[in-house]
């Protein structure tokens, strides 16, 4: 059980990136977080991962307060962030340094196979395509069997075909160990395909604005009417969250500088 309790984050320059975020996510649940640029969704993910500390409130996983990166929490970034001096297999096994060699080799081999890159295990990351590299990043995060996997716009840098492909692939991988998934995205389709619950965030300061339960059977048909309906609900919520009338020009500028800090 992952819980955020009144979490807020104010950057040293005074930008309030996150304010009073309270959510709880049950084990195995897939939650998507959508919102306009600069609404604090990536900040929230970084706070949950323990890479950043909240300025107020707390993040709790299974009764344990998260203050720094935790072994039960994995993260996949927007970029693959592979270590260029390690082969694909060694990148996947990066988090298993404490494992005995045999076990590590076995688990890495299985995970590399699982993401369909068995033939690439010995090559350098520079030889991979963008989609392949992101698969390796997924494998690296999953091989440690985290309870919670955070994904920060994981497929946004990929072309449309690869993206759809990897979304299905992610769900397939998720089914293996059913970790909790927290996916930040600005792709509404992606949020509906993946999530049980979509949280729409609102900027300045970043907070949860609306919660939409998708309630669609899996596997989800991207062409179905129910899919379209869910999508329209999220889009409508997004529209409301970005209610332009409430925003002054000044506020717009401030938020965008805040966003630039970590993007």
């Amino acid at each position: 059980m992952l819980a955020l309790d009144n979490v807020g984050k104010t950057y040293p320059n005074g930008v309030r990136a996150l304010d009073g975020v309270t959510i709880s996510v049950s084990p195995g649940e897939i939650v998507a977080i959508v919102g306009g640029s600069g609404c604090g969704k990536s900040t929230m993910l970084r706070v949950v991962s323990g890479l950043d500390q909240p300025s107020q409130g707390r993040v709790v996983l299974d009764g344990e307060r998260i203050m720094s990166p935790h072994e039960k929490i994995g993260i996949v970034f927007q970029e693959p962030r592979l270590l260029p001096w390690l082969s694909v297999a060694d990148n996947v096994g990066f988090g298993l340094a404490d494992c005995p060699n045999d076990e590590r080799r076995e688990r890495v081999g299985r995970q590399v196979d699982r993401v369909g890159l068995a033939d690439k295990a010995r090559v350098w990351p520079r030889e991979l395509s963008g989609g392949q590299a992101q698969r390796v990043a997924l494998a690296r995060a999953l091989v440690t069997r985290p309870e919670v996997l955070l994904l920060d716009e994981p497929f946004s840098a990929l072309d449309a075909f690869t993206r759809v492909d990897l979304q299905d692939h992610l769900l397939d991988l998720w089914a293996d160990g059913k970790p909790t998934l927290l996916v930040v995205t600005h792709d509404v389709d992606e949020s509906i395909v993946l999530a049980d619950r979509v949280l729409v965030m609102r900027p300045r300061p970043g907070r949860i604005y609306e919660e939409i339960v998708t309630d669609l059977p899996r596997p989800r048909d991207r062409q179905s009417a129910a899919f379209d309906f869910a999508k329209r609900r999220v889009l409508a919520a997004l529209d409301r969250s970005l209610d332009r009338s409430a925003v002054t020009d000044d506020g717009e500028t401030r938020a965008s500088t805040g966003a630039a800090m970590w993007w």
């Binding site: 990166p69 072994e71 970034f77 970029e79 962030r81 270590l83 260029p84 390690l86 340094a97």
Partner: protein
């Protein structure tokens, strides 16, 4: 892969020679076909030839000039007293090698460069890594080191001689100072500019300080470090000459001074050639040792 590209270029050569002959004027496609056929026939021989012929192109200019000078002296256009012809230089070199002189001097110089380079690299690496890693150390130490760097290192010579005497200690110190700064700057710059995103990967996997250095920072700075070592070594060879000029009874630098004072230009050139060979050789050793660690690099020009 690049080798294939090279051989392709070579396959074009027969084509261009054929165009010259008017009786061979024919349709372009036929011409190309002939050329390709000829190239495949000679393909194997040409590949090996191309591999050695390319680097050999660079030798044409120096060897040509040497040959011209040799002929000029032989023909009596010059006495070759101040600018000895290659044959005389070679003879001097062979003589120095035969008597064991060359070995003695080269060993002395190599020992000085080795000791100075070792000290400079260790100090430069440690301080560069510390100042790169810790902001506090950087603020404490870097301004002083940058100020010291601004001093031409040769300016230290009198002080080093007063402090350390005229023998090995002052020479090795001077070389170490020369090697220190490029290594320090290179390491510090490389550590500071390690991608934050990669460091975050280390943090996500909860690497401790030492593991972070070993598994993330060290490999990440490796390419820049090799360059820092090479430029440090270059300066080491530069400063060993300065050190040996200031009073030495052996060493290649001594051969230079000795050759000047006794009017033996061939000996000077022989010593210079020895410097060139040793400098290139030691640089090559660094590259050869480092190459296996840098195979992952995704660089503009991969060798």
């Amino acid at each position: 892969m690049w080798r294939d590209r090279r051989s392709n270029k070579h396959q074009l050569h027969p084509l261009s020679t054929q165009v010259v002959f008017p009786e061979q004027v024919m349709s372009l496609s036929l011409m190309t076909a002939t050329a390709e056929q000829a190239a495949t026939e000679r393909g194997q021989g040409r590949n090996t030839l191309a591999r050695f012929a390319r680097p050999a192109l660079g030798l044409i200019l120096p060897l040509g000039l040497a040959a011209i000078w040799e002929l000029a002296v032989r023909a009596g256009f010059s006495t070759g007293r101040l600018v000895p012809p290659p044959s005389v230089i070679f003879a001097t070199f062979a003589e120095l090698a035969r008597t064991g002189e060359l070995e003695r001097h080269a060993t002395a110089t190599l020992a000085r460069v080795g000791a100075g380079f070792g000290l400079g690299v260790v100090a430069g690496t440690v301080l560069g890594a510390l100042t790169g890693y810790s902001g506090l150390v950087h603020r404490l130490v870097d301004p002083t080191l940058q100020a010291l760097r601004a001093i031409p290192s040769i300016a230290w010579v009198p002080l080093f001689i007063l402090w350390l005497g005229i023998f090995e200690a002052s020479k090795i110190t001077l070389i170490a100072v020369g090697v220190f700064f490029p290594v320090y700057l290179g390491v510090m710059g490389a550590v500071v500019s390690v991608d934050r995103k990669i460091v975050e990967v280390g943090r996500v996997f909860r690497l401790s300080g030492f593991a972070m250095v070993r598994r993330i920072l060290l490999p990440a700075v490796m390419p820049a470090y090799v360059i820092a070592l090479r430029s440090g070594l270059g300066l080491g060879w530069m400063f060993v000459v300065a050190a040996e000029f200031m009073g030495a009874s052996e060493g290649l630098g001594f051969l230079l001074v000795d050759g000047q004072q006794l009017g033996k230009p061939a000996q000077i050139v022989a010593a210079i050639v020895a410097f060139a060979v040793l400098g290139k050789l030691t640089d090559w050793i660094i590259v050869a040792v480092a190459t296996p660690f840098l195979r992952w690099e995704d660089a503009f020009a991969r060798r």
